[in-house]
Amino acid sequence: MTSLDLELDGLRRQYGSVTALDGLTFGVPAGQVFGFLGPNGAGKTTTMRAVFGVTALDAGEIRWRGRPADAAARRTFGYMPEERGLYPAMELLDQVDYFARLHGMDGPTATRAARHWIDRLGLSGRERSRIDALSHGNQQRAQLAVALVHDPQLLVLDEPFSGLDPGGIDDMSAILAERAAAGVTVLFSSHQLDLVEGLCEAVAIIHHGRLVVTGAVADLRRGDRPLLAVRVTDDRAAGWSAAVGPSVGTVDAVRADGTAEISLTSTADSQVVLDLARAAGPLEHFAFEDRPLSEVFRQATGASVGQAEAEHAASARTAEATTGAGR
């Protein structure tokens, strides 16, 4: 197993009556693109802020390469918060240069790095533009430049794909993959679980401030009960699948086209299912499928991501009504 660069250990954070983090624990392997997933309100933003010391923790520890993450370690981190923000009236180059210096770069190095990233992110020619004069997409790029300019060892991005068009999503994915290939540990959050499953090598999925599941994406999607999709010609209701016994597996769902989704038990032989299907008629489709991460989430928590988010929104409204204040 690869070594863990970033370790979150038993993080707790309470906001009044709302528990944002409830003993959250997981590790991020070095040099990977790591997805930090969960429904809205699961505690992702609080966790990322805690990595930078922006939010204080009630309990728990954050370690970077085996040692508690201190100010010196944080200067080697790059951050793109969910609430994007730059100085509206400051010129692009000055702004990126300023953040490079704040991370400890000397003047000439900072300016060189700022120019490099402005160029790399396709903003050449806009060095002297004020931030508020840039388009929304270019402001996102400027924000990314600020996160990358000091060549961070750990890149933390909160919902980097929100508000991006498909082209922007591709560009962002390419940059994250490229950074990881250069040895940078990349941690990013998303509440759209399926959008990012192709990008990450590993993920942690959290809910109610606790870890639901973590591991390599490929392992999680396969699961310990492999998913078999089988379709028999002219059997739209998949009536044949009634013959699948509990020792073999369970029929989770039947799709509109008649495909039966069968979770096999860990010891079952898929050939038993094949024989049952062929006995019922000509076989049209027979394949192992990976589950989407949203399905992994549903199986682990018993609720869909949508339900979890609706529940969070309702509890947030209640908390606001009783305390009379937003978070």
């Binding site: 922006v54 609430e83 730059l86 100085y87 509206p88 204040a325």
Partner: protein
């Protein structure tokens, strides 16, 4: 690699300076800052030069009344006293002391000489008389000595003066009061203008959300100190250049403002700009951190500005009257009002220098207390989104966050 190494303390200082530097560059490079600075400096220069120029043009000879002596005998003394004071003085015969005092009160005479006895002026300014009356007192004193004591000429080198008596109670001269008025206007403008800029800047950082990116690598205290330091250096630069213009223009125009009491008032004003800014800068920062939209800043800084507004509004009653009331004297020692009230009291001659120093020390001590509370309010509020945070709530939370 390119990340500089060093201790955390080095980094904290470097970071604080980077923040301060950004604030300075941001403002110095704006046209508004340059224009306002130029206007303030020109206003100071004109305020110093114009009265001096006007006074020298309308310089009629000083009329000195002489009582109970042969005017011709002392007229050379009077003329010489006027010459020594850099002007002209003529002796006028007065029939009686009462007539002379009446003429003194009405302003027809600038001083009365009772040879061998005393000099009478309408009012002895704080710090003693100057000009023809002072010279006359000296010369007339000498002449009395030489005439009445044989061999006294040898004692002349020690200097002997006639006593100078004022008809009215001693008081600060008008020039000192006018300088005091100008000084408090400038103290008030600088503290509130630069204080508002602190609050606006913090409101901008909060409402634009850039503060979260900043706080990922900068501690709230570094951000706060850097900001008030940068803006404070600009305020100090403006104040120092105004004092410099005051002194240079004063000497160049031969203004009597650069001698005696007025200069002291300006120096006191300079001291209180520094301690007043130090006291208020963190309060303005805390006020700025409470808003969620920059447009709310004006209403959150109002409670911060209130003490200065009160002290400023009441300053006119002190400058135009003889003797400040007890209430205003108390304001002169309270840190929130002292920056405006104390220079006023000093200019009006109501307090001695040592009390000015005590007030400045109290204000500096209050600064420590204010900075502690304000820094906590700032750190608590700066990342909080949502509606504007009430002042009471912020103070309550800041208190509960105080370590035991």
């Amino acid at each position: 690699m390119s990340i500089a190494t060093g201790t955390d303390a080095d980094h904290a200082l470097r970071t604080t300076w980077l923040v301060a530097r950004r604030e300075i560059r941001l403002r110095v490079n704006t046209r508004a800052y340059r224009i306002i600075t130029a206007i303030l400096l020109i206003a100071v220069a004109l305020a110093v030069v114009l009265p001096a120029v006007l006074a020298s043009k309308s310089s009629a000879p000083d009329r000195i009344g002489v009582v109970g002596a042969d005017t011709a005998a002392v007229s050379s003394l009077v003329t010489e006293a006027g010459r020594l004071a850099g002007g002209q003085a003529v002796a006028v015969t007065e029939p009686s002391l009462a007539a002379a005092e009446a003429a003194l009160r009405s302003g027809t005479l600038s001083a009365v000489l009772v040879p061998g006895t005393e000099i009478i002026v309408k009012q002895v300014p704080l710090g003693g008389v100057s000009g023809p009356a002072a010279n006359l007192a000296q010369l007339a004193g000498l002449s009395k000595l030489i005439q009445t004591v044989p061999g006294a000429a040898t004692a002349v080198s020690h200097g002997v003066t006639l006593p100078v008596r004022g008809l009215e109670a001693q008081s600060a001269p008008l020039s000192s009061r006018i300088t005091g008025l100008a000084t408090v206007i400038i103290v008030w403008i600088l503290i509130s203008a630069f204080g508002s800029q602190i609050a606006m800047g913090i409101g901008e950082e909060k409402s634009s959300r850039v503060v979260e990116v900043l706080l990922s690598t900068v501690r709230p205290a570094q951000l706060l100190v850097g900001k008030v330091l940068g803006i404070g250096l600009l305020a100090l630069g403006q104040a120092a250049s105004m004092v410099a213009v005051f002194v240079i223009a004063g000497f160049a125009a031969g203004s009597d403002l650069v001698h005696g009491a007025s200069l002291g008032v300006v120096v006191a004003g300079g001291v209180f700009i520094v301690v007043g800014y130090a006291f208020y800068c963190t309060a303005y920062a805390a006020a700025g951190s409470l808003v969620s939209r920059q447009s709310d800043v004006n209403s959150t800084i109002l409670p911060v500005q209130l003490p200065l507004i009160v002290a400023y509004a009441l300053s006119y009653t002190v400058l135009y009257s003889n003797g400040a009331n007890t209430f205003y004297r108390v304001l002169g020692f309270l840190p929130p009002t002292a920056p405006v009230a104390m220079p006023v009291l000093y200019a009006a001659g109501d307090v001695p220098v040592w009390q000015v120093a005590v007030s400045a020390v109290l204000c500096a001590a209050g600064t420590v207390w204010m900075a502690r509370i304000a820094a906590r309010i700032y750190a608590n509020s700066i990342l909080r989104s949502g509606p504007r945070i009430g002042f009471r709530q912020a103070v309550k939370e800041a208190r509960s966050a105080l370590p035991d």
